[in-house]
Symmetry: D2
Subunit: 277 residues, 4 copies
């Protein structure tokens, strides 16, 4: 008895649940979890099903395809560790949190490589016997630097590229190349502050809550579909550096939770939103 995960997103039509579950039933497969969501505004259907049984993956996938609308995306997977690449700069809080989970075998992923534009975290990373690629951006154009990064990345067959406090803006050439594969973390405020040093701006407005947002990266680095968010409270006694420090604690938790959702195949991208099933 093996376990499988089926993920479908397609235009919505009458009878989709019936038609899909019919195939599972006829093939003697046992549904263990089943979640659907219909985005009525955009007439989109999302379904995530965990089932057990013994199947020929391609055959079942073909049968499911035959009962769905033409544009349907179907992922039918046997759950196993995903492959990820991490990118970072100087701060270790997000990276360290992932490394500790990795070391404890708590992360459903192999870390293939860690790429940084600084050497600062090499000492930490090598403790965990993971290849560390130091690719300085000094004296390079953004494009030249990214080319070197891409050269490393393209040596690997990876599922997700995680920006664990990678502090360089990426070109849309880069983000488009790895569309729907890049997960980023960044601080968030109520309200938001745009421009240089948002922590300082938040401090000056006297915000009482600071947060973090993990999201997929699209053309605009700090936008893209939100995966997970959380906040911590601060008060007037926090200077902006204290806020930044508090921000780190929530950033690492939010990034790790979002990464886990991706590794467990729970995320659909629906235009600029996510559906988590």
């Amino acid at each position: 008895m093996n376990k499988y995960i089926l993920l479908i997103d397609s235009n919505d039509e009458k009878g989709l649940v019936f038609n899909v579950t019919k195939i599972l039933f006829e093939n003697d497969l046992n549904i263990e979890k089943n979640n659907e969501f219909v985005d009525k505004e955009n007439n989109k259907f999302f379904m995530r099903t965990e089932f057990t049984g013994s199947i020929n993956l391609d055959e079942i996938k073909e049968k499911i395809k035959s009962v769905l609308p033409d544009n349907a995306n179907i992922r039918l997977i046997s759950p196993e560790k995903k492959n990820i690449i991490l990118m970072c700069t100087k701060e270790s809080h997000c990276l360290g949190d992932i490394l500790i989970r990795y070391q404890a075998n708590d992360l459903q992923a192999n870390i293939l490589a860690i790429i940084s534009n600084h050497q600062s975290l090499e000492n930490l990373v090598t403790k965990f016997e993971i290849p560390y690629f130091y690719i300085s951006h000094e004296n390079l154009t953004r494009e030249e630097h990214e080319e070197r990064v891409i050269k490393v990345i393209d040596n690997y067959n990876f599922d997700y590229l995680v920006l664990a406090k990678y502090m360089r803006v990426l070109t849309s050439t880069f983000t488009n190349k790895y569309s729907e594969k890049i997960i980023n973390i960044h601080h968030s405020f109520l309200p938001a502050f745009i421009g240089a040093n948002p922590y300082k701006q938040a401090y000056e407005r006297g915000v009482k809550i600071i947060g973090a947002t993990a999201h997929f990266v699209n053309d605009n680095l700090d936008e893209g579909p939100i995966i997970y968010q959380d906040v911590v409270t601060v008060d007037h006694s926090y200077g902006w550096k204290d806020m930044q420090k508090s921000g780190r604690d929530i950033e690492k938790i939010v990034l790790s939770k979002a990464l886990n959702m991706a590794l467990e195949d729970k995320i659909f991208i629906n235009k600029n939103r996510t559906v988590i099933l």
Copy 2:
């Protein structure tokens, strides 16, 4: 086109989703929301489906019944306002929160009556033109008092009996009579404190978080399946009366959220747990 909600709980079997959605499909009904949950440990299946169409309720219910295991519970309802009775003692925070929602037409319920063992809230309640029954417990045994309360309750055909800070212990005769219909709110602490004045005990242990739990009432008044919980933070500067005051804010939000879940037919009771779909 009408809207319907279908709620099923039964033993789990292969093909349940398929069999039920088949009936909906064949009757030209359109699923708008569908959630299932399988409690594998207890082999129980829960399903909540919102669909639109035009049906003969009894006929469809009969068809669904025919494809489910014998012990299945099926609720097939046309969503409309539920009828509720509230019970309270002296504190107005939970009651008031419900009354303001009721007045704003934000509550999917008719409030049939409010019963109290004190007169304190009569003035507030009558502003909202709802019958207020003052049934003092003075000089009565617990059983005698409850008999008088039951006499009032049984004049009404109600869906839920909400204990909005009703501070009397109920006998199991009473709670069994209205099994799965009574919703209660009470304070909660991390860790819990048993016995008289838990706020004072929590204060003495220096707790930093106080919470509230809304739950169905079973034999033991403060136990029974939990519907919703939330917390607020406190610190050393809070005396136990300040904690109690903070507790009130969270109690009213938690009770109103739990009540809304019940009014929207989202709750299943699964042994001593709830499943919220």
Copy 3:
């Protein structure tokens, strides 16, 4: 034995705490709570002291003034109910929350009047025997409408003007006239969304957290020093109207908490921030 609250904000200097507490000590006054905060960046000193004893208010205030820098603000008050005016439009959640606290004698305030540009809430307000002024803005310029509002306000001697979901933009003439006296509540998102229907924008970005911010109003209605903030979580199944509904629950709690801080004389305004002691 009476209770007093002393609030000082001034430029920071060595010896301020010593000099102030010296006066309290020499006058046989007993400090029950004492909090200070120094904003080192701006060299500002804030102190809030609760003490008991028997004093001539003006005499003690004069003594304290003599040991503080010239520009110091000193408030020395005997805590009693403040006077407030509420403004609202059509939504009752914030107003209702305040009314229920008021009715339960849980609010350290007299509500002098409620002013609205709609009649919708008149029925609710009059239940609580509070004057309701319906001042329509129809066919009036913003200035003309505000003049009529000001005419009502200026009949009263009030401490705070609370915008309990008053949905009209105020001119800077108005907000400057009642500088540091107007408390507003508005929704907040991570990240923020500017322009029409922010709930819809938040929905389209798929935010997972929505919040509320209570703040003093300055020239720009939705800015000004933040008093209190809190958030609730939402998910992909929330349409933007559901988000708005969740937003209401957090708005009312945040506004009532901020109002209580003001009524208990805990707030200092420090440029565009608050210090809460």
Copy 4:
């Protein structure tokens, strides 16, 4: 110009703030932060002052002592890294979180040693070049095992002993020996569950919130003054192992925050409560 932290707890008396700040003023010291708290019920006074200047520590401490009640505790310290020892069993989440902070120089502490009753975490710890003492409890009485642990501990001069998921019950001989020095973390539920496998009990009651409590250890391992608490939400789809997994994320954050409060000298113990200034 050096920075100092002064911590006082004593019986409350009139004039304490005045008397202490007088000494600071006369010695030309500049108060940067000052917080007091009076526990009126127990007539206890707590004060934490950060100041800058140039002093003879012993001399100033003596002067302060002379103006305080006899039983006063005075700590006057020049802030520097504290020394800590960690104890753990098999789980790495709390330990790893502390190690990553330590490696990033984000922890105001030297980690002198890590002691475990298992070998599981040796591989992780040695990456960070910290002595790891594996002291198995197999075939030993509780007392014999603790004696071996104590032998290691007593080689070091330490400030705090942190139980980072050390899963053995400690005797009161042990906890009394290191009174007010041991910080522990444990899961917390609303309500609490006593006995074996509380996660399973919490699951069976269907709790919606699970939390963690960091506290000083007294005679009873899981009691003692609470330092910090926080919670995460769960739902019916969480099995008890999922709850445990969620619990780990909140445990590590809560323990690290509590440890930081201790390292920054912010905690007073007041009977069975803490005062955090």
